[in-house]
Symmetry: D2
Subunit: 339 residues, 4 copies
């Protein structure tokens, strides 16, 4: 049994990592940090985690076998640095190790990268694309919630050269994706019974999507128009992805292409009909439904995930399973909480 | 004061027409029909309409000055025929008079058009595009809820030749758009906390969008990829529309183009930021937010409406105002119910 | 036409007062204040009120015929004082003038009453109980949202001596009742899919309920156990009220008692079945459903209102109608926004 | 490992039993029935249960070690009869074995009891009250969702003689409690943004509450006024329970009384503050918050559960653990899905 520490357990992603570890037979949560709540019992601050017998500390004090960080970018790399230097495997849920280029990081995050020398060692934590590399790394750059859905939706078509290098991702996210901070936009009375787009002048998840799709083929990075939307629900992302087809394809062939692409991946599945996000509630699943608008010659793929699980904490655990040589789905075969 | 009859007041669009007429100083609701509820007092069947002193009948019995039909397609044209023949102005909220071509109708609705000889007399009830014709018609083909948002979002750019003739509409709708019929999909426990796409093999609102956008310029109808989504909320549509730009344009120029296009239209406004549908709750507004993805050379326009008002009953009343020579906004200047 | 000023238009109750005035034929909104937004156009700060051509100011600068205050308690009395001294009718939506006793005020609000000399002149703004007095006052103490529902539910039975002087109010409120301030409790992701009780050690609306029920009969104030609950919806209060019967009564007699009690009151109605709050959405209605648990010898009355309208801004306008000698329902006959 | 069969897996309670069994180390789901879906793969009909390799059948065909029935009353006893006669332990989630008296059953359910001879062998499946008996029975009468919360909230006070024998339960339930059947009341657009009471003329869960509370002390059954409410959320019950105190008690003593009463029960806990139902989402927990209205001399206890887990399928599994001599919490230590 490996001892796991979570840095910043008090945000939605951090507490979800703790929740999921309750099901894991090989990982044991032994340390949790959180600045505002340091000194409190975990179950006192987060009652739903009361079954863990732990006190929140400022830093991870005792030795652990792996660290999951749910800090914001920059702070995360900083906090992980000593663990990385000590040779401890880490799963970073911030953006710090996702982009291969420190320049792109600086452009989108408005500051120098805190540890550019480590970027080459980090592996983008999407097992469907980088499973072998993940088995060999100690720095997991867990993808953002939007990129997980978007890349899984488009990767098989992009790799096959089926689509133009100009894609659109129209993504719909539940409000937990915005985090636990307070803002009038997330006040129940403002967010309920309303849908809105945001990030129209550019969202930080866009370069990740471009980078990973670009690695799938020998050509410049595709152009990505990415528009996220806020949906009146707590959890879930639905990404509807559009791209012009470069050649005709039947729905049967397309479905087969996607099924083949993910045949060996336990959590990413082609769904026979258009999936609702509820089918992934609380799970590490990504449900895909590829289809063709034959009139317009366009690929349309829908991807549904739970933004906090496959879009965050679950994926981090999936990657850690690989790092430790465990079966990929260990502790993650959870049926959706439905309805 | 004009006497108005509503056919099929018992569905969401019909009852919304009645609700809105309560505010209208020149229209008086004098007749309501509904098969299942015939014989009942309106306020008994629909308590929120109890202030109307009316009994639901099977057919409109007394003379009225205009008829609003909220029946499903085919049934609607049939029920309106005698009124049309009697010279009474009608606003049809079904699809029966929207498409100019009886062939296209047959193709999408799977049956012969019930009154093809009347198609030439009907005017598509979008005042922003057909205001003058609406003043002169007696057959209003009120647009569908999705086309209203989609066409208003794209019309200025399409008319100017700013965009390619290949557009994408990713639309998000509250569940009242699906009507009052029972289906497991609309059961609260199934629809809540879930988003899903539907109509991926083609939705009947697509040809309307193509037809109306095609009329704006001398060229074949544009190709339209239209994907509607079900959102866990009661009212509201947000249409996010995408098209490749044919030439560069600054955000300032684009905004000015849209403001000019709708300067004389009281309900369609350019919104300074990305609007939430809640800002249109219960109103006849369409809020537009045009923007440019400069990296991808793409126009992105967001449109927000209340699907039952500007996307249905409100628009029908707006058109009837024009038919009767009243100021367009008569009875419709309702601030949103916010929050 | 009377000119109305709203103090603190930027909270939910203040903005709702503005929204409702858009429908009022005899009242015109001519001044709006709000500290944080002073200097901004009303429609810029609150887009749904864009049809008002007004700038938010720090204080009401121009002469008005009546003032509605939506400030918190203490601040409200202070801001209203100059208007009261100038002889301008005021409708206070805070708690400042609701309790007859300055001692009770001090006990529940933890501070001396800011203007105890005015308490005798104020009238509790519940027209169903104090209509004649309201026609003769210039200080309206608009009731809290919970007391409106609770008192209307219990008054007929209490006045008749039908029930013991020990009542329970179990109230369920939408989240707009908590105001527009930020708190983790009202974050969408925390409030959604959850119900909770609060104020279990005493809620400030309790003494109002006791005071008003006590005035209905010659006896000490009844004991009131009042437990409010937070419900995952934006608007609406449902108050379920319980009291032991002092004598047997049939359901028919009980219904008649309630119908008689409110026969001349346009907004408070006995509803034939158990009402959902949605039937009052956006309206000034109070829907009552009195019933008897014959096994237990207990009265059970359900009351449904919109907390921001009959529970706040609408009731203030209803009272101002009385003050100005207008028909009570002027500008308030709005059918519910349903669904 | 014991083989478990679920009768009527297609309703919400049945499918929840299947979901929970996925976590159970000693129970294996080996048979599922469902009339409408017979012949289909479980994952085809209920995609969130796709990880079970099972086909839905009309009846349980192969030998199982225990049966869980989620059929409606009457049908359930009928379907369970052969299994009971074969000596197989059964957990019935319908009302058929809950009431000790066949007369009371006939009165509330409008028909003769289908197997009155078995009533004496059945044990009411609330381990907090009947743990020892459950270890020795083969017929588990799993309580209704409302009674679970209500009885657990009131039992310690009732057993101690702390309260009068006249209690009120004001219960708030998410809509999954109404089952998966179609009804306009549960249409999303009707149920959303609305709260309503129902069952005001008597709800079938009332006699269960009276029976079980009555067994706790030597006196006639207490009088129970029970009013359920429909809340716009999917899962969760909050029961707010009221009773007059027979003697003074401090909050500290009361809290200690409740903590002692449930000290050895793993799922029922005194919560330090008023709990939201979300803290029980997807779990077998019952969170209690007892308090005193000292002014009125009244006990007020709030209980929160997940209606489908502790209020249904989870409790059935908890009881089966006892029947099979397993630790009570086996397979049920699931942290809440929060947020």
């Amino acid at each position: 049994v490996y001892r796991i520490g979570i840095i910043n357990v008090t945000g939605y992603i951090g507490m979800e990592a703790a929740r999921l570890l309750a099901y894991h037979p090989e990982f044991r949560l032994t340390a949790v940090t959180g600045r505002s709540a340091a000194g409190k019992r975990l179950g006192e601050f987060l009652p739903h985690l009361g079954q863990f017998d732990l006190t929140i500390t400022e830093e991870i004090e005792d030795s652990v076998d792996a660290v999951i960080s749910a800090l914001p970018h920059a702070a995360s790399a900083e906090a992980l640095l000593p663990h990385i230097q000590a040779g401890t495997p880490v799963a970073d849920l911030s953006a710090d190790f996702r982009l291969k280029s420190a320049e792109t990081y600086a452009e989108w995050y408005g500051r120098e990268h805190p540890a550019p020398q480590l970027l080459a060692d980090a592996v983008y934590g999407l097992p469907e694309l980088h499973r072998d590399d993940l088995r060999a790394t100690k720095i997991i750059a867990t993808p953002g919630c939007y990129p997980t859905a978007s890349i899984l939706a488009l990767a098989p078509a992009m790799r096959e050269g089926l689509i133009e290098d100009d894609v659109i991702v129209d993504a719909k996210s539940g409000i937990s994706g915005a985090g636990r901070g307070l803002d009038l936009k997330y006040h129940y009375a403002e967010a309920n019974e309303s849908v809105s787009a945001y990030g129209l002048s550019g969202h930080r998840h866009q370069p990740e999507i471009g980078q990973e799709l670009g690695l799938l083929r020998e050509a410049p990075q595709p152009s990505v128009t990415f528009v996220p939307h806020l949906i009146p629900m707590t959890r879930g992302i639905l990404a509807t992805c559009y791209a012009k087809l470069r050649r005709d394809i039947t729905l049967e062939r397309l479905t087969a292409l996607y099924e083949d692409a993910y045949a060996t991946h336990p959590f990413t599945k082609v769904h026979a009909s258009s999936p609702g996000t509820k089918l992934t509630y609380g799970t590490n699943l990504c449900l895909l439904h590829p289809t063709v608008d034959q009139r317009a010659g366009r690929l349309v793929v829908v991807a549904a995930i739970d933004n906090l699980v496959k879009g965050g904490a679950g994926q981090a655990i999936q990657c850690l399973n690989l790092v430790f040589g465990l079966p990929e789905e260990t502790g993650l075969r959870l049926p959706a909480v439905y309805p």
